[in-house]
Structures are given as C-alpha cells and as structure tokens.
C-alpha cells in the first residue's frame, strides 16, 4: 500500500487543502508521497518535503505546467499511478477538476469529498448537500479520492524531511491555453482555511453596510464569507459564498451576521467549532444551530464588538 497526493501550491507554499489530504492519507497507514507539478517547482518541492508525514516528493517540471490544468496534470499522475493504491487530492476546485479526469484515465471510479477514513477501502462522504452521510467501499485497485479539507486538520507544514526527486513522467501538450486569472486580491485569510470566519447575510442591508462585517473580520484576522442571499443581492462577489453551492467552511469560530440560516447556507458551515449568530429576528433558524445567539440590530452590535475586542 502506498499513497500519492497531488499537491496544490501557490507562491512556493503548499495549500491547506493538500495538508488536510496528508492527514487523511496518514489514516490509511501507508507511506505518503507528494507530487508537485509546475513550471518552477523548487520552492514548492522544498516546502512539500518539510510537510510532516511525507515520505517522498516527486516533481514534474515543465513550462506547460505553469498553470494547474487538469488536462496536463492528470496524464502525468496517470504515469505514476501504477505504484500507488491511493491517489488523494484536496477537494478544492483544483482537486475536483483533476481527480475525476485522472480516475477515468486509470479506468476507475472516483470517490469525492471524503470526510472520514474507515479503512483502506471504506470511506464516509456527504451526499445530498450534507443531509446524509454515505459509507462507501471501493474495490478499485487504485482509489482516486478527493478529501474535504474541513474534515481533516492540516498536517504540520514543518518537521518532515522527505527526499525530492523528479518523477518519471513525460508532460504532454495541451489543447487548453491559459488566458487569464482574475484573482480576488485580499490580505485576509482564505475562507476555507481561516480559523475565524465572519459571514454576512441579506440582513446586513447593503454593499456599503457590509464594510461593518469586514471591519469585524479585520479586527479578528478572520476571513469574510456571505450567504447566497447576500451574494445574489450584489453585496459581495460570488467567491465569498458559504454554503451548499458555495464554499464549505469549518473554522474554529464562525460568526453569522444578519444570516437567517437557510438550509443551503447551514450545509456549508455547520461543521464549524463554535457558531455565533447575530440577528434581529429571534425566530431566525440560524439560532437553532448557534452555540451563542445575540438578538439585536447588527448595525449597533458590530461596532460595539469591534470596539470591545
């Protein structure tokens, strides 16, 4: 038994989705290798080698790999697949894009979004937007799996000392070309890896009033999220949406501000450690899952919180 994890990295650092996959892989009890692909991967490979619990780091370096295109990475991983019983990727958009393509190349099914490892063949994963948890068993020789980051703590990014070597794989030519990235620039932590998330809903009232949510988040060094209602109302961009059709988050502290608590929002944050709800409607469903509820006008409460933290 041996596990390969395809790493997601940025600016020479390994992303938290990958670190969570390392933790999931540890539960399998077999050696864990990391595959790092890219144009210039030296820094990322170095970072990967230091991740606790990693046995070896394989690199695939090619100008064509400058952007993380599943069309190119999947065939590279396919060439290595024969050596592994499990291939894991974090269930980020990177992993979700890549893993099924790789599985199909290997002629196997893929297991998405696992939240628990029962044994080497058996996993738990949410279905129906988290309203049911399935236990599934795979008989595939190579199991291609995506790992839900919020279900596994990130492995320590230091403490390991894995050897780095070039993977024995060739890189093909893509029929896909990268045109541009419109990345949301932010100094705040990323939603899916932040310890604290402050989310605003339609109750915040307007795009301008959302500044109060950002202010609280900055005071707490928190990431900022939003409900679908707030996104649809145009208060904040799409990629801030927490929920069934947005991001799944599970921070240590989740503060829901002016969010009523639609099922689809709750599906995206109910694994959080501590949930705080601030809402003027004392009957709002969000209070049914909140550890601490505060009924009142968020326009008064938020400034008070900011001043007292």
């Amino acid at each position: 038994m041996k596990t390969l994890i395809i790493a997601e990295h940025e600016n020479g650092a390994i992303k938290s989705a990958t670190l969570s996959a390392v933790t999931a892989a540890a539960a399998l009890g077999a050696p864990v290798d990391l595959l790092v692909t890219g144009n210039d991967v030296a820094a990322a490979a170095q970072a990967a080698s230091q991740v606790a619990g990693v046995s070896a780091v394989l690199t695939a370096e090619d100008a064509a790999l400058a952007h993380p295109l599943a069309d190119l990475i999947a065939p590279v991983a396919k060439q290595l697949a024969g050596d592994y019983t499990h291939i894991l990727v974090g269930a980020s958009t990177f992993g979700k894009d890549l893993a099924p393509r790789l599985a199909a190349l290997c002629g196997v099914n893929q297991i998405s979004d696992i939240i628990e490892v029962i044994d080497a063949d058996t996993f738990k994963r949410p279905i129906y937007a988290g309203n049911a948890i399935a236990t599934v068993k795979s008989s595939d020789a190579t199991k291609v799996i995506t790992v839900r980051g919020t279900a596994f703590a990130a492995a320590a990014s230091e403490g390991g000392s894995a050897a780095v070597s070039a993977a024995n794989a060739t890189v093909g030519t893509a029929k896909v070309r990268f045109v541009r990235a419109d990345v949301t620039e932010s100094d705040r932590p990323e939603l899916d890896s932040a310890d604290i998330v402050v989310s605003g809903g339609r109750g915040v009232g307007s795009k301008e009033d959302f500044a109060k949510v950002f202010e609280l988040a900055d005071k707490l060094s928190a990431a900022v999220g939003a409900s679908r209602a707030a996104v649809d109302s145009g208060f904040v961009p799409n990629d801030m949406q927490v929920g069934q059709t947005g991001k799944m988050v599970a921070p240590k502290l989740y503060i829901a501000v002016g969010i009523s608590g639609a099922i689809q929002h709750i599906a995206g944050m109910k694994e959080s450690g501590v949930i705080v709800a601030i809402n003027k409607d004392e009957e709002a469903p969000i209070f049914n899952i909140a550890d601490y509820g505060l009924v009142g006008d968020l326009h008064d409460i938020l400034p008070e919180l900011v001043s007292k933290i």
């Binding site: 129906y128 990235a181 919180l305």
Partner: protein, 249 residues
Amino acid sequence: MKAIVAVKRVIDYNVKVRVKADNSDVDLANTKMSINPFCEIAVEEAVRLKEAGTVSEIVVVSVGPKAVQEQMRYAMALGADRGIQVETAAAPSSLDVARLLAKINEEENADLFILGKQAIDSDNNQTGQMLAALLDIPQATFASEVKIADGKAEVTREVDGGLVTLEMDLPAVVTTDLRLNEPRFAALPKIMQAKRKPLAVKTVEELGVTLSNSTELLSVEPPAERQAGIKVGSVDELLDKLRNDAQVL
C-alpha cells in the same frame, strides 16, 4: 455545431431528504423529482448558444429508467432538439455514465458537451471530467461564462479565490456552475412541441458497455444534528463566553 447536454433526474431542490430507517439509503419513495439544477443550467446554456447561431443542434442525453424521459422532455421544452435515453434500472456510476456518453458520441460526433458540474443527489462532481478524459478532449469545469468562436471555446471558470479563463480547441467538455445563467421558464408552446420531438431509447447492451460499479454503498446515516446553544443578552456577555467558556478568542 452539435452540442450534447447530459441531464440527470434528481430529488427536487426544495425537498428535504430523509434517510431510510434501515440506513440502507435515502428514502425517495413518492418524492418530487426534477431536473438537476446544474443540468438545467447546462440546457439553458446550450439553448442560448443555439439562439446565438453558434450551436445548430442540441441532443439531450439521460441515463436511467423510463422516468428520466420526464426530465428529457423538460429539456426539450427549454429548447433541446432531440433526446437519447440510455435505459438502466438505476443511475449508474459517474464513470459508467461517462462511458455511455462517450459511446453515444461515436455516432453523434458532437463538438461541445455541456454538463452540470455535479448532481445534487450524489454530489460527485465527476462525469464531465471523466467524459473529457475518455474522449481525450479539453475540459472546462465550473464555468461562469462560455464564449464559442472560430472552433474554439473561451471559458471562464469559478475557482477558489477568483476566476480563471481558459481557451480550448473543440470538441470540449464544459461543466456549469450556478451563475453561468438563469434558466428560463419553459414556454407553453414549447412544452407542447417537446412531446413531438424525437426521443430514442438505447440499452446498455446495444451500446456495448458493461456497467462496472466498483464503489459499493454500505450505509447511509443522517448527519449529526447540531444543538441550539444559548442566547446571550449583550455584546459583553458574548465576548465573555467566547473568551472564557469557548476559549476561541
């Protein structure tokens, strides 16, 4: 240009699922079923491309028992031109669906495949990528904008942290994200016309595909319920609880 759109019949978006008492699966008896919302967006996108003159024919494909024809007719009411149902007892695995689609394409030779990014029942998010792999063609998942010109597709994708735009040769697979478009209502005359559009039924045997699900469903449980906590009376009390009881600040 021919487009193939795959659609799945799933539990209606508004229905809350219940797990069966014996934990064997979720209980779908007498449950309202609808077209998977992401598949509906896929149909809408194909129809818009047809209205723009880019796509000339839309073939809707669904895999499953006879009941899936209901969703195929719906897709045709939105504007798909004809349908191919692959008759199976239940919904096969994503890989098998991808294989069936690839097989169908041997006859159809489509230039564009538009699929929902995931079905809201199994939440797998796999079929489109698998189809692209089997056909060895480019994929653009989680699309929020699709432009087709000069035999190429330019697709903007919703990824973690923002948007990425890719350009690719056709044929290609596009999977739809929520904000790609807002599907129209089906118009009455189109609902009537949909009944007359051709719908071919094929069996798995005819297509020469052997279904091979290697993933066994052992059990299904309801998720752990989160209990309601307490209401606090003031900001001071809240901060006190977070600092001293929960120790998260």
